[in-house]
Amino acid sequence: MPRITLEPRFQVEYLSVLDSDGNLDTALEPKLSENDLKALYRAMLLGRRLDERMVRLQRQGRVGTFAPIKGQEASQIGSAFTLRPSDWMVPSFRETAAMVWRGWPIDKLLHFFAGRLEGGQPAPDQHDLPITIPVATQLPHAVGLAYAVQYRGDDAVVMAYFGDGATSEGDFHEAMNFAGVWHVPVVFVCQNNQWAISVPLKKQTHSRTIAQKALAYGLPGLQVDGNDVLAVYAAAREAVDRARAGDGPTLIECVTYRLGVHTTADDPTKYRAEEEVRMWEQKDPLTRFRIHLEKRDLLETGLEQRVDDEIAQAVRRFEAAPPADPLTMFEHAYATPPPGLLAQRDEMAAREHAAPALDGQQPPAPVDATPMRGQRRTRR
């Protein structure tokens, strides 16, 4: 019996357009207008400044735990930039830059990180899912959305975000497998930031790349320099166009680095060396792109101040919001609250005194919840 080599023999490509000094490989340069280039930079800068502000707000106790994105701006903005508003964006929990680019109001994100679910409510016409925290579990949702797009005959594309740690989860593999079998218009964007809290990539997978995992599912996989916004854009553009043309899903691995903490509850000095962080700071995606734009004389003056003002205004709106009304917790458990839940709400309303009921009416006067034969009104 033979032992033969089966075709195809797989290869994984790596794409980089800007080097770490901001020099351009013109042969690979994506077609972007000057306005597009300025918009990319502005969105990345906003992502960075908001990130720094969020960390300060958390340290001051004004918002809760937050997962910073510092260092991943190019991966997020370069990819999300390729989407139309009618396309779908499926985030994990470390995509604030991409979410703001997609139209999430900053004050809404602040509400989310201040523990208010109002911050997780997309606008009625917004095609974005809310932040999903259990790792990789949003990826099957993206595949299902893409299936529904195809079922309805729409031309939208779905882009889903996750990190290197997520590629160890079953949901990642199941989602890739279903996407391949169903041939749906979804783009998987892995932000390989080298660390899943304290576990480095080499302990996460024995694969040389994450991109090659796509090949097992019959999908194209491409590795890009995730700190090079033009490379990420070029890869995402190709994948989104392919998906929209009906040519199926793609996995893009953005090789990047989490310059900050995992979350504001984390201390990375326990598990990684300062020298490693310094080395990656040399590849800062924002600096690289700024140098490039400077060379092309495309940097806008006063941009940092304008971005900071926008953030400051959002923080003011966030802090001016009235306190969370506890009674609204009963509104979105079901389309119609069942009687047992309404009874619990009435109990709370009686405690909170005279809060308006779900239908805008005053709640009923507190009554004994269990009127019974021979009621005992006093405690024995």
Binding site: T137, G144, L145, Y151, D171, A335, P339
Partner: protein, 326 residues
């Protein structure tokens, strides 16, 4: 009226709802060409095509996870998990996402999906093919948990579940699939979710059951009527969550006594919530402690010992007699 067994009645409900609404899809392992391992989805793929009746790859988490995505887009997927014992591989998708999306998105999204699962014993099956796990789903806010007791309630409740804007876990007792035929109306029928039915009226004691245990309760009631002259009221719960507390309380106010029967293990099972609800609403009507007749608090015992574990008629009769004599 047509006389159908539960498999045919469920198949009819799926057919009717798919004809009624193009957004209804069926998704699961072997549901297409094969028509499901119990034939509940028989012939649907031939009628509606493979895009609407989807033979998925073998992965429970992605079946539920992709269905969540479809529901987010406005479709109404009806998923089949081949046996409820395998649903722990998608439990995170059910608990973390199906149940929570309405709340997480503050009403921007909701998940109009149904997850059908065969459950329960009585079919001499292996481990993971015989258990009752309704308590896990009944405990999760945001879900509804429905268990029909025969062909007519199966058809009417499945139609209601598919039309419901919230996610519904729909358990089908394997022991009932081919057990008996029942008259099912010619016209499509949707029974209300969250409403119990009085399967037999009585005044001596309230016997609460659901799913395959309803037959056991009714047989026990027959024996008690003949041998003891006791008219036991049998409540067919039909929906585990949200629980029809009014029906329970109204009945116990009349009878003063209650026994609950379920196949799931006793501790922290539906019987505990049912008993507590009766205590809340009818404490001063009670003449005796509320008894539970359930499986024991042991993992799967194998079908050679199943009869000794799952409630049967003699155990229910004995529990009722003890409660009546208290």
């Amino acid at each position: 009226m047509a006389k159908l067994n539960m498999v045919k009645a469920l198949n009819l409900a799926l057919l009717e709802e798919m004809e009624r609404d193009n957004d209804v899809l069926v998704l699961g392992e072997d549901v297409g060409v094969d028509g499901g391992v119990f034939r509940v989805t028989d012939d649907l793929q031939r009628k509606f095509g493979s895009q609407r009746v989807i033979d998925s790859p073998l992965a429970e988490a992605a079946i539920i996870g992709t269905a969540v995505g479809m529901a987010l887009y406005g479709l109404k997927p009806v998923c089949e998990i081949q046996f409820s014992g395998f649903a722990f591989q998608c439990f995170h998708q059910i608990e973390n996402h199906c149940a929570r999306y309405r709340m997480r998105s503050q009403g921007r999204f909701h998940i109009p999906m149904v997850i059908r699962m065969p459950y329960g014993g009585g079919v001499r099956a292996l481990e993971h093919h015989s258990e009752s796990e309704e308590q896990f789903y009944a405990h999760i806010p945001g879900l509804k948990m429905v268990i029909p007791s025969g062909p007519r309630t199966a058809r009417g409740l499945l139609a209601a579940a598919i039309r419901d804007p919230d996610p519904v876990i729909f358990f089908e007792a394997k022991a009932l699939y081919h057990a008996a035929k029942e008259d099912v109306p010619d016209e499509s029928e949707a029974l209300p979710i969250g409403r119990a039915q009085i399967a037999r009226e009585g005044d001596a004691l309230t016997l609460v059951a659901y799913g395959a245990m309803l037959r056991v309760a009714l047989e026990a009631a027959d024996i008690l009527r003949i041998e003891d002259g006791a008219r036991v009221e049998v409540i067919d719960l039909l929906t585990i969550s949200p629980l029809d507390r009014d029906a329970l309380v109204t009945s116990v106010k009349k009878t003063g006594r209650a026994v609950v029967v379920h196949e799931a293990p006793r501790s922290f099972g539906p019987g505990a919530e049912i008993a507590a609800s009766i205590m809340d609403g009818a404490f001063l009507s009670l003449e005796a402690p509320i008894r539970r007749v359930t499986a024991h608090d042991v993992p799967f015992v194998g079908f050679a010992r199943e009869k000794a574990n799952v409630p049967d008629v003699p155990r229910v009769v004995a529990a009722v007699r003890e409660t009546l004599a208290f």
